[in-house]
Amino acid sequence: MSVTVQGPVVQLSRRREHHEVSQVDWLKSRTGSPAVDRIFELALSYIQRADEAHRQGRKVVYGGGMTDAPIIHATDTFPCVFPELGRLASDGSVALAEDHFRIARETCSMVKATMGELLKRKGLFKRLINYCSLCEPYNAAFEVLKEEGYDIYSVDLPYRSEGVTGQRFEHLVDFAEKELRGLATWLGGRYDEARLGAEIRRLNRLHAKVRRVLALQVAHPDYIGTLETLFVWNGANHNYGVPGEYEALLDQLIDELEAYARRGIESTRVPIVWAGGRGQEFGLYKLFDDLGGFISSWTMTGLLLRDYDEGLSPLRAVARNTVIGMGGPGGSKDQLPHLEEAVRRTGSKGIIFYGYFGCSFSSVNFEVLKKHFNALGIPSLILDGSFQTGDPSGQNVTRLKAFMEMVQ
């Protein structure tokens, strides 16, 4: 069963602020899955807990949602990630960034929303990790944020363009490894290989469980919906700051999904692969469910669930996954095999490419990938959304409806 919401799910005529409240309401609502309900609670309290950890003298850093997670955990640092920070950000945060930093309106909404939130929070913790090859606007924005007193470590990642393999690939990993050692030192004062090794093994175990949840959901998509899957997935690396509890919830959710599977209920939902960003336009995800679809794979960001190679030194393993797995650094065609595999494995009927308006790197990626899948006869749709909370644009709603009608 899907999320039980109070009142109509998507009312596009409602005022934006109503939706911001509604988003929280959704996360507070009972889903029918006790495990997901608790994960929603963890999401809702996540930033407050990060603030509390800071007040109690713990190290807290903005970062940790990606392949850097083992390093952050291994240095006893509380990870505070941007997507969850973004859930707090409204149009007001965007306006604040445009006004205070005089950032042009055409700049990517994710960058502006984050900048606005960080400005509001500058009295709190001020350490932040920047990955240089992920996003150009963030690179520039974080340089500007330094002027607000933020202590920012830039991990100068290499760009892995199309077809880079062999010696050249290893050369990129060499550089990433050095940069990540710098990060570990910046975070913890020294690099503790044993701790990092333990974190890698723990995260590999967690990733396997998240993959199991996603596989069960593909087989039986009616038990939990898109938004629920998203929040399970979101916690895979940062664990909402509570690694032990998060893992126990994954076990519980797997039990729930397996029990549901045993009931043998058939689903008519249409599987679609989601590629690209994960914005805060909750109405879009819900609309997707309401139109009889479900997201069968969160590809691109899904690469962040790749296992760390336990046969390598821990830092090398993190460096390797970082060069491979961070969506931004890769060439435009880099995601092709992963998308093809996701479509094949899940029997998906189409692909949605979702990026933020103004995103400087995903736009060409999507054009290149769309061309490829058009040639294969697999329908795809490019949506330009926004990062901050709010209703989906009318244009996106119309296009998504038309797309779902077509693939059904």
Binding site: I103, A104, R105, N139, A140, F361, S363, E367, K371
Partner: protein, 379 residues
């Protein structure tokens, strides 16, 4: 059978000034910088393979290939050190949609780190192997040293010619200086050298008139070949003189030479990393320091800071630039520009008002200049 003298040299195209052209030349290729712009129709053509919110220069570059611009289509291979997102993705679009071979290389941002310098040297080595494969000609150490020395001579001439603009009444306009920059990128380097030397002699001999026009520095993103609206307005219509440029098609890339006292691949790696920085490099403070140094050196009265629409690097850091110069008491007009003709009148009005205040010595001008962004960004 084709005689060696009849073999046409391979043409190695590049967009950004972080590409070590000495290495391309040492392998027998002809380096061709692709930096045309300014035509909205070509931009529209490029948008077909990008998006509406893509940088205008990157869109133009894609569009020029799509429209079959002879210079762009003459390129045998593109070499791109990944400077900004838009350009690297633009290069990938060119490869994907027009079948142009390309090699993407990495450019570290944190240039002062030892790891960055070592990494950059390895990237330059990869470039060497690739261009040798393209041309079939091995790069020798002596040949590379010779090219470094030759291009450094050209850089020195351009810097020395620019320094003539430190006079109260510069013997050449900013528009004329940009023509010399084009010569550096478009002409065979020996022809450009001869022209620079001769021109320097002529300009040095010019007698000063005693006039002192308003001295302007143009700073910010790329001013493409063909994007001359601002230059024409400032110099031809508003009677000011652009005395120095802090952008990648003006003085900036010629300000510092490549070192000649170390192994040549290392010299290229370090020389290109250490050049006067683009806003894409870190930390931003070093870029602002360089801008300040230029402004002082050339005794500028005011600065026009231009960023192309959707240019993340220069648009987002523009406010930091303005604040730095506000503290120094040098007025800055910040402009968000594109290649359309529709805002020409608006641009002229804004520049005119800004310069009028400067000429009047209005004490409030700094404050007004500093708040230009909001007005410029308004529809």
């Amino acid at each position: 059978m084709t005689q060696p003298s009849e073999v046409k040299p391979k043409r190695a195209g590049y967009f950004c000034v972080y590409t070590p052209i000495e290495l391309l030349a040492a392998a027998g290729a002809t380096p061709v910088r692709l930096f045309k712009g300014g035509d909205a129709d070509v931009v529209n053509s490029g948008e077909v393979h990008t998006r509406s919110f893509f940088c205008q220069f990157a869109q133009y570059s894609v569009g020029a290939f799509r429209e079959g611009d002879p210079l762009y289509r003459s390129i045998d291979k593109l070499y791109h050190f990944n400077t900004c997102d838009q350009m690297k993705k633009g290069v990938e679009a060119i490869g994907e949609f027009f079948g142009v071979p390309y090699r993407m290389l990495c450019l570290p941002r944190e240039r002062s780190r030892a790891a960055s310098r070592e990494f950059m040297q390895r990237e330059v080595e990869f470039l060497r192997r690739d261009v040798e494969e393209l041309t079939g000609q091995a790069v020798t150490e002596a040949g590379l040293r010779e090219q470094i020395a030759r291009y450094n001579r050209a850089r020195r001439w351009l810097r020395e010619i620019s320094e003539l603009r430190k006079r109260d009444d510069p013997p050449l306009t900013g528009g004329e200086y940009l023509e010399l920059v084009k010569a550096f990128y478009y002409l065979p380097i020996d022809k450009a050298l001869a022209a620079f030397e001769s021109l320097h002699g002529q300009l040095s001999a010019e007698v000063e008139s005693g006039d002192r026009p308003l001295r302007i520095m143009v700073a910010g993103g790329i001013v493409a070949d063909g994007d001359d609206r601002l230059t024409r307005l400032l110099e031809d219509e508003l009677d000011t003189r652009i005395v120095v440029e802090d952008h990648c098609t003006g003085l900036r890339p010629f300000y510092l030479p490549v070192p000649e006292d170390r192994p040549p691949l290392q010299a290229l790696a370090e020389g290109y990393l250490d050049q006067a920085p683009c806003a894409r490099m870190k930390p931003l403070s070093e870029r602002l320091d360089f801008s300040e140094q230029l402004a002082r050196e050339y005794r500028v009265d005011a600065i026009v800071y231009v960023s192309l629409k959707f240019c993340s690097c220069y648009a987002i850091t523009g406010n930091s630039f303005v604040k730095r110069f506000e503290k120094l008491g040098i007025p800055v007009l910040e402009i968000s520009s594109d290649y359309s003709e529709s805002d020409l009148g608006q641009l002229k009005t804004r520049l005119g008002a800004f310069l009028e205040l400067l000429k009047k010595g209005d004490a409030d001008v700094r404050h007004r200049a500093g708040t230009r962004r909001a007005a410029v960004a308004a529809p």
